[in-house]
Assembly symmetry: C2
Homo-oligomer: 292 residues x 2
């Protein structure tokens, strides 16, 4: 997905929020803002929004000297999600359709996104999960998703955020584990999950976990490692979590299912569903692809 | 008042809104955004926010070839306010303290501000005026304001927006007219009032009206005409409407009363009152001055 002009005020807001969160020094905050604004002013809008996100968060890390500004937020939400895990695991097991329930909860977990949101409370997470318990997924594309999971010789599960990854675990536990690989970002960016989070969440003990070699808050294929690119090209089924993975992959023709909460009006318009929607989208059929 | 980093995403949002309102051509919208972002990136933050507002709206006018993008909005809100005028005029006359009631309503009229807000309905205006009818001004600085109006040999009333100017008229009708001059912007910027609006609102028939020679959405003294600067320096009392006039004048030591609705968190913090507040502020005593 390209970058829209509406993304620009949001980039400025993101840069400001993270600069203010990382340092109290107004000179450093100002330096971050000026660098980011200069870059946005010259940005190639045919690139996806996560390409700018990658740049913004590199500037923040370089300018502040803090290599992982969201470290504490990631810890907090991993712990919160782990404390909720046993309860939701029970709901999955008690469900008439555990795969469907686990998919719902994995989608709901995508609310834990500090790129799209600049603040998030425990209550926001609880409310979103409670909504998921009440809202079944439509029969399609769930039926296709279920069949392709059963048939796929290899499944690549592209994770998104820390905290959220604990809810991904509920779904991973319903996938054929020996055929599934979970992918994290190559290094910290926003609150996106890295290897450390996969370990904390208990995903690393369940399935193979690899990183994609990139610090983009999405999956910019040409920025990823050769190993990841091979695995990506060979996968029979790709499960991609979150807005960033949607924005960077939605123009490919690969067998990808997107699992996401719609958190901004630009994605809502692209995908044709209102902000707040919890979506399982068959990438080969989704509205966004029509805009290529 | 200086520009804060928090103003930056708001500048970007303002530029986007006006570019999209004025043209459907994505190339022109993009050109506006890029020019504005380059300027914000290099902006001297010791300047006030209206200095950037002035630049943004110049870029929009130059790039789109539309010399008055808010023409229709100004017409609409002048007509709306004129249709409400007789009712509120009656409320002023029936009030036990007509000057106080007229001051409240002039402050409430400041809600009609398309710089701080990017959309505004008739209902927003009605609700704000209804609140004003229920909310008396505190005895101070009202008492000082009343005494200085009685004593001043010359009163300069710095208007802010079209529509709002009709509610200013209610207050002007309670001032000593022969000693009062109403000031409008030198040329169109956002929905700020110009001579045309003073005529439409019926203010031009009541008191002398001059323009300040500037296209800033505030009063940047060094950008104003020599005539205005003289009048400004000589006035015994200045009544300054709106955020833009506050942001550009709050560091002066002149006898200025600010009448405004607080519409953004940056002003709210500077002035020490929450967003939504309806304020009559004695400029010689206000919190903002402490921050020089």
């Amino acid at each position: 997905m390209r970058t829209y002009l509406e993304c620009i005020p949001c980039f400025a807001r993101q840069a400001l929020n993270v600069a203010q969160a990382v340092t109290d020094d107004p000179e450093v905050q100002q330096a971050v803002m000026r660098k980011v604004l200069r870059e946005i002013a010259e940005m190639d809008l045919s690139l996806s929004p996560p390409a700018m996100g990658q740049f913004i968060h590199r500037v923040v890390r370089q300018t502040t000297g803090n290599s992982d500004p969201y470290h504490e937020i990631k810890e907090t939400f991993n712990q919160l999600a782990l404390s909720m895990y046993p309860r939701f695991k029970r709901r999955v097991e008690e469900s008439a359709d555990p795969l469907e329930m686990a998919t719902r909860l994995a989608i709901a977990g995508n609310i834990i996104d500090f790129g799209a949101k600049h603040s998030l409370t425990k209550e926001d997470v609880s409310r979103t999960l409670a909504e998921a318990l009440e809202t079944p997924l439509p029969p399609e594309p769930l039926g296709t998703f279920r069949r392709e999971i059963a048939d796929a010789a290899s499944i690549l599960y592209l994770g998104d955020n820390a905290g959220e990854i604990v809810f991904d675990r509920l779904l991973i536990e319903k996938l054929p584990r020996e055929r599934t690989t979970f992918v994290v970002r190559g290094s910290p960016v926003i609150n996106d999950a890295t290897l450390r989070d996969a370990e904390q969440a208990g995903v690393a003990g369940l399935v193979e976990v690899i990183d994609n070699g990139s610090d983009a808050p999405g999956t910019i294929i040409e920025d990823c490692s050769a190993e990841f690119r091979d695995r990506f090209a060979e996968a029979d089924l790709i499960i991609a979590k979150g807005q960033g993975n949607y924005e960077t992959l939605n123009e490919t023709d690969l067998p990808i299912f997107y699992l996401l909460k719609v958190k901004c009006p630009v994605i809502a318009r692209d995908i044709g569903c209102p902000v707040g929607s919890a979506l399982l989208v068959d990438g080969r059929k989704c509205a966004g692809r029509a805009k290529r």
